[in-house]
Symmetry: C2
Subunit: 359 residues, 2 copies
């Protein structure tokens, strides 16, 4: 089988929304288990799958520049974490006015088990120099990109996917940022960043740089297209801000939107997650009337993964019913009815509204 055939096979079960660069949503069933099988995990890329020579350079303002291979990373202490990743643009299609950007529905979210070395240990070995501020993560992926959608004059053919984190975040052992080389117990697939990638728990997945090629400690704050151009909350009424933590959100996974069900008890189920602390409650509304009822919320099975919730609904009245679920996290964040609109459509965590026709 050719590499192209293999990649095609790996993509077959996804809902493709863009062939080049390849972007695809998970199918709805990907949200039902604790972990999303790799072939059902959503894929977000800003450029085509790049060539990668298998090495990772760590440099910039460090006392001990390093060049690591996957074997070097495997020789370090191994950490294994289930991490929910969500695209910052997930839910963009539900935002009004419709923003520019990839037309993500609601399935650019998945949870996989990632295995790798800890970023802070790699950085400790490289010994950041005094005066470090940010850490710059460069992917091997690069190509043409429109700084502003549509406008031809904003096209640049020489962009590389680069994101940065603060040095304080990058070296924080409790952040458990991984340089991951396995996903669900297998070497990374090309679409997911082979041979290795960053995994930044709790952050929108744009921070989890795929096809990781270079890490540089910087003594100045980092500026770049994917940090301060795109992936910015451009609100109309307050200073712009780069996309960071995943916003608290609940999804209803059963029953399906616009489905027909028989009258009787219906267990409404779903997932909930947040980048700002575990989800502490999920409430359900079964009418359009603003009455919220507490759902059963399962405790987190790990620090970085979605939680299950459920609610036994006595669906005795035939007719159309509206279902909503609203999550609250430990930091007190709660989902809004309407998220603050931002020009590029990031971070839509508005309360999901679906309906079911009971017969």
């Amino acid at each position: 089988m050719t590499v192209a055939d293999r990649i095609g096979q790996e993509r077959a079960a996804l809902q493709m929304i863009n062939p080049a660069p390849f972007n695809a949503e998970a199918p709805p069933e990907a949200l039902t288990g604790d972990l999303t099988p790799t072939e059902l995990h959503y894929v977000r890329s800003n450029f085509a799958i790049p060539a990668h020579d298998g090495t990772l350079e760590i440099g910039g303002a460090v006392e001990n520049p390093l060049t690591l291979t996957v074997d070097d990373l495997r020789a370090m202490p191994t950490v294994d974490r289930a991490v929910t990743l969500e695209c910052a643009g997930n839910g963009r299609l539900d935002t009004r006015p419709l923003p520019t950007g990839e037309p993500w529905g609601s399935y650019a979210v998945s949870t996989a088990r990632w295995t790798g070395a800890l970023l802070h240990e790699v950085l400790r070995r490289a010994r950041p120099a005094t005066g470090g501020v940010d850490v710059r993560f460069e992917g091997a992926d690069h190509g043409a990109y429109h700084l502003r959608p549509v406008l031809e004059e904003t096209r640049r053919d020489d962009l590389t996917f680069v994101r940065a984190l603060s040095l304080a975040h990058a070296v924080d052992p409790s952040a458990e940022i991984l340089i991951a080389y396995e996903m669900n117990g297998e070497p990374l697939w090309p679409d997911h960043g082979a041979p290795f990638r960053l995994i930044v728990p709790h952050w929108y997945a744009v921070a989890s740089v795929k096809w990781l090629k270079r890490i540089d400690v910087l003594t100045e704050p980092y500026t770049g297209e994917f940090q301060t151009g795109h992936y910015m909350y451009e609100w109309p009424d307050r200073p712009h801000k780069t996309v960071d933590y995943m916003r608290v959100r609940a999804r209803i996974t059963a029953p399906a939107h616009a489905s027909d069900i028989n009258a009787g008890t219906c267990t409404v189920r779903g997932k909930a997650w947040s980048g700002t602390g575990p989800v502490t409650r999920v409430d359900v509304s079964l009418t359009g009337e603003g009455e919220w009822l507490p759902a059963r919320l399962e405790p987190p099975k790990g620090p970085y993964q979605w939680q299950d919730w459920s609610f036994d609904w006595k669906a005795t009245d035939v007719g159309r019913h509206t279902l909503r679920a609203r999550a609250t996290d430990a930091a007190g964040n709660v989902q809004p009815d309407v998220p603050p609109w931002n020009r590029l459509g990031y971070g839509n965590n508005a309360i999901e509204v679906l309906y079911v026709d009971v017969h």
Copy 2:
């Protein structure tokens, strides 16, 4: 066949959203033709189908009170008009925050051919007294109703469906308000207001009182639950206002939302209508980028009915595409991206956004 069986048969093809009172959307195919077959025409009722003795009283501040039967109405000059009716709550499910009220999707709109006598001629025969201000239209339907949803203490068991129009509007020959006794060439069906109903062209259908029982000329402005309680735009930031003219709106009838289509030329089709003048243009957007392209708009086939529009889309790029259609009417009204939110969710004419996956 019993009456109940007959009514059940008449309702079979509709998407029921409430069994009692019976409320049901049209199926999507109801929007494809010039006229909606009666069995596919949406149904909106505030109370159960009432008994009706077959007479219509015209009284109040008139010099010549009348009692008319359907035969009396048939003896008057006959007018026949295709009229697009839309429920004021159509599209409520797409409004955020989710308002209270019947959970209408987007199919509480239909067009039928209505036959009847002209209201202004009936009123002329009754000779309104000087000092008339409003005309009150009472349906035979009545029962229990919640003045404010959910709150038990607001329930009233003694409400009747009553709406009013200004006398000036009611007696205006150019308004062509009908007392209709036929729909699509047949006597009215029970769900559509048998034996006769008002048809108020250009207005949201709440004005088109079904099961019409009494008409009274009033010398004071009318106040009532369905005029100044419900069916009010309760905006947060300006004076409330009763629901009146249908807002300009375009719908995309093909391709279907979230459908898969083959790459190639795809004719995007739809309907457009407005209560404030014929639709004068429809524009289509095929990207999320704010570029709008003019669609072919067919001229109106009559003064009160939806218009056809279409656009030949070269759907050559595989992947997900967003489709939008935006109508403008002769008064210069244009559909908004987001309608001004109102508590009861009326008049949602926001630009429709759908997506199609091209393979």
